[in-house]
């Protein structure tokens, strides 16, 4: 068949293309969502944006990074940190009118522990009681999650798990009556359900035109009050043309891709506001700690000292970013304030290398040890422009301290394959990741560090501790260790900037929650022009 796969919406929305209408907010997505609108199987941020507007979670993070009840009225830890009880709201309805109950919650989280679940089980369920038996299919019911009544859910942990609330804030609840129609094994391919999500969130799903936009519609019965704007449309706009789209009034809200002053000026001239906040994605250079020349932590520290991180932020991010020194967001309440900040210092770097035995004995300008020249290949994937540009800077920084640094660029998967193959020795790989609240050590699975010994013990301690003060201490200890060991050279966290058209009111966001007050976003009639 030919023709455009466009279904013509019935709702009478804007008639013109760029005319502003007060009942619609249009949010730019940089790329097409996959259409995996299921909170436990999606894997792109673009799907996530839809999911977090259609579904709701038991708890959410507030701007101060405290957990606030949402679908749950309240939550409660037992004294031993092994039982977490949620009191659920009783007035919540799914978008199809069915009532939301405790069974939905049980069903959602148990599903991820099911033996047929097509993805890896979450860490949360692995900490629950009876996980092994349930996962092996030995039991029908998951002992770890119980629902004493329709509005109460209890999670029973085999060992205490500190990341529990973070998981609940990150994984919305599915409707049992919808998803039980499909065998769990087929969740990733249940196209029909995936593309027509039914949630409890502020917006109802209306339509997804592949590659073009996702249209959502206000849920008048939303438990925190009906949204102010009738339609929320996610329009797919390539970052390259984003600026025009915003200025041209094709979208109202868009994340901007850089902070170049000329670009910001262009927005400002058109009356577009730039809302800037801390970003939640960090960039780092992983080290192969099993690589003999990098096994010595002084060498790794030296390399970190050698990188002009401030220079990178100032030049590539135009100053709109921060450095970080351990694997946690600096705005995290538990992020220690006294970490070594490894301020740029080639002298210190050289000193440390000298201590570790690396000196230039043959006078070729490069360090050597035992007759071996210090070479360092920086692998980096294609895709993130800032990261691509940072590679030559780091190369130069390394060369400045006498390391023969080379660059090797490849597509993302190829680069990832270097990290994934435990038998492959490498020097360094530039990677990036997204911070999720209160998840520490999350990039460790391809790290060659932290699988055993002191670091593992420290991390286990973090995961097992639920008592706030003890947790703070455990986290501090772990992060200090990481800060000292430098398994990664932590580089920078770019700020997040959002261009918001002047007609849009009440747009707010926090580090982790872009849509926290989506139901308040409104559009006033065009004043500019």
């Amino acid at each position: 068949g030919c023709g455009l796969n466009t279904s013509v919406g019935t709702a009478a929305t804007a008639a013109g293309t760029s005319a502003q209408s007060t009942d619609t907010v249009r949010y730019a997505l940089w790329s097409n969502p996959n259409g995996q609108f299921n909170p436990v199987t999606y894997f792109t941020d673009y799907d996530r944006a839809i999911i977090f507007n259609v579904y709701s979670r038991l708890v959410v993070l507030d701007a101060q990074q405290n957990y606030q009840p949402s679908l749950a009225k309240s939550y409660n830890w037992s004294a031993d940190g092994k039982e977490l009880t949620f009191e659920l709201r009783d007035n919540v309805k799914w978008h199809d009118g069915e009532p939301f109950t405790a069974q939905d919650v049980v069903y959602t989280y148990a599903a991820t522990a099911n033996k047929d679940f097509p993805l890896d089980p979450s860490t949360l369920v692995q900490h629950l009681e009876g996980y092994e038996d349930y996962h092996a299919g030995k039991t029908q019911d998951f002992a770890g999650i119980t629902a004493p009544d329709d509005h109460t859910v209890v999670f029973h942990f085999a060992t205490p798990y500190s990341g529990a609330l973070a998981t609940f804030a990150d994984k919305p609840v599915l409707a049992k009556h919808v998803w039980e129609k499909v065998p769990i094994a087929q969740w990733k391919t249940a196209t029909d359900l995936l593309k027509h999500p039914i949630g409890t969130g502020p917006y109802k799903f209306k339509e997804f035109v592949d590659g073009q936009y996702v249209a959502l519609e206000a849920n008048p019965d939303y438990f925190e009050g009906a949204p102010a704007t009738k339609n929320l449309i996610f329009k797919i706009v390539s970052p390259d043309t984003l600026q025009t789209a915003v200025i041209n009034k094709e979208v109202d809200i868009a994340e901007i891709s850089n902070f170049n002053s000329k670009e910001l000026d262009a927005y400002k001239q058109q009356g577009v506001n730039i809302v800037e906040g801390e970003g939640n994605g960090g960039q780092y250079l992983t080290f192969d700690t099993k690589n003999p020349k990098l096994a010595d932590k002084r060498v790794r520290q030296a390399l970190l000292y050698a990188i002009n991180r401030k220079g990178i932020i100032d030049s590539l991010l135009y100053g709109h970013g921060i450095t970080f020194n351990a694997q946690a967001h600096p705005s995290d309440p538990l992020y220690p304030k006294d970490l070594n900040s490894y301020d740029y210092s080639p002298e210190k770097a050289k000193e440390l290398l000298k201590e570790a035995g690396w000196t230039d004995t043959d006078g070729d300008g490069f360090l050597d040890k035992d007759g071996q020249k210090f070479t360092f290949t920086i692998n980096f994937p294609t895709g993130n422009k800032t990261r691509e540009l940072s590679a030559p800077i780091i190369q130069k920084n390394f060369q400045d301290i006498g390391i023969d640094a080379q660059l090797s660029q490849a597509d993302f998967n190829t680069t990832l394959a270097i990290l994934q193959d435990p038998n492959k020795q490498y020097d360094g790989v530039l990677m990036g990741g997204t911070f999720r609240p209160q998840q520490y050590g999350s990039a460790n699975w391809w790290s060659r560090w932290g699988e055993d010994g002191e670091s593992k013990a420290a991390l286990d301690k973090v995961n097992e501790t639920t008592d706030p003060t003890a947790l703070a201490q455990a986290v501090s200890q772990y992060l200090h260790l990481e800060n000292d060991e430098v398994p990664f050279a932590f580089l920078y966290i770019p700020n997040q900037g959002t261009a918001v058209r002047p007609e849009v009111k009440n747009f707010e966001r926090s580090t982790y929650e872009i849509f926290s007050n989506v139901s308040k976003w409104s559009v006033s009639p065009s004043q500019a022009q």
Partner: protein, 316 residues
């Protein structure tokens, strides 16, 4: 983007090559190069090409900046007396990168075409000479390569062998030979019917000798003409691959990756010095080489004999 398969000018010409080329090349191939130089198209193209090549080769004499010298204190500065063409996002001197990048682009162009010629001419000649089953097999293979998806192969080669300039050459060469092979085959098919091939066969001259002396040497005009066009396609393909991060990789400059690093609305609007120089350089070289190819094509064809009536306003 000018994907590698866009060189239909070459690929396609085999449709008529059999009716036309054989008849013409043999007679007109040896016209003096002297007359070629008088053709303004060729002379102009050659002059521009030589100027560009010379400037690239003489890069160290023309600029005092190294192409990879990062200067975080002068990022994206506009052209000035210190930086003639300004600097890029890492403060590297664009004029210097332009000259050094030209070496890379030209290298890619030439090497990719050389590879293409080796594969294409060998297979095309063998197919055309032996006809029948050998021909069928070679043509099927060339069809397979023509249908081959460009990006997956590009990614694979880059992934398996690492992204570097030789892989760009490999990718372009391996994917673009079918066009030339088909042309050469068509040419050989008609050449082999010439009496001089019959003669050599009749008196028992060894086959390799017939292929080389009788056929390959007579295909030279076709090869040259298409080779020049292929150089431009290769340069553009390198740019396209760099655009996708599969080409010549950082920090080494090539015109392609200089352009691709400027693929941004802001750069386009406010920092033209980042993209105009490589853009103009590519366009100029492509134009110059194509002009030469065009002139060569005219040169190996019989003189045009349109009757005066077709183009009315000629007589002065």
């Amino acid at each position: 983007m000018h994907g590698a398969k866009d060189n239909v000018i070459q690929t396609v010409s085999d449709a008529t090559a059999s009716d036309t080329v054989g008849r013409t090349t043999a007679d007109h191939a040896t016209r003096s190069s002297h007359s070629l130089l008088r053709n303004p198209l060729f002379a102009g193209g050659l002059a521009v090409t030589l100027a560009i090549v010379a400037a690239c080769l003489a890069a160290p004499l023309l600029t005092r900046y190294a192409p990879n010298d990062i200067d975080l204190n002068s990022l994206e500065v506009a052209p000035s007396a210190t930086h003639w063409l300004g600097t890029d996002a890492l403060g590297r001197d664009i004029f210097s990168r332009l000259l050094y990048g030209g070496r890379m682009s030209i290298l890619v162009g030439l090497a990719a075409v050389a590879l293409q010629i080796v594969i294409g001419v060998t297979l095309g000649t063998v197919a055309g000479y032996h006809k029948g089953i050998v021909d069928a097999i070679v043509m099927r293979i060339s069809e397979i390569f023509q249908c081959f998806p460009f990006y997956p192969l590009a990614i694979t080669i880059a992934a398996v062998f690492g992204a570097n300039v030789w892989n760009v050459v490999l990718i372009i060469g391996v994917l673009q030979w079918p066009g030339l092979a088909r042309l050469v085959r068509a040419e050989v098919l008609s050449l082999r019917e010439h009496a001089f091939v019959d003669y050599s066969r009749a008196i028992g001259v060894p086959t390799w000798r017939i292929l080389w002396n009788g056929l390959v040497r007579n295909c030279i005009p076709v090869i040259v003409v298409n080779g020049t066009l292929a150089v431009t396609t290769a340069i553009l393909s390198e740019a396209a691959l760099s655009f996708l991060g599969l080409g010549v990789s950082q920090p080494d400059p090539s015109w392609g990756n200089m352009l691709s690093s400027a693929q941004n609305f802001r750069v386009l609007s406010y920092e033209p010095w980042m993209w105009i120089p490589p853009g103009v350089a590519i366009a100029l070289l492509v134009l110059a080489v194509n002009a030469m190819g065009e002139a060569l094509q005219e040169h190996v064809r019989p003189r045009f004999g349109y009757i005066a009536d077709i183009a009315p306003s000629h007589r002065h």
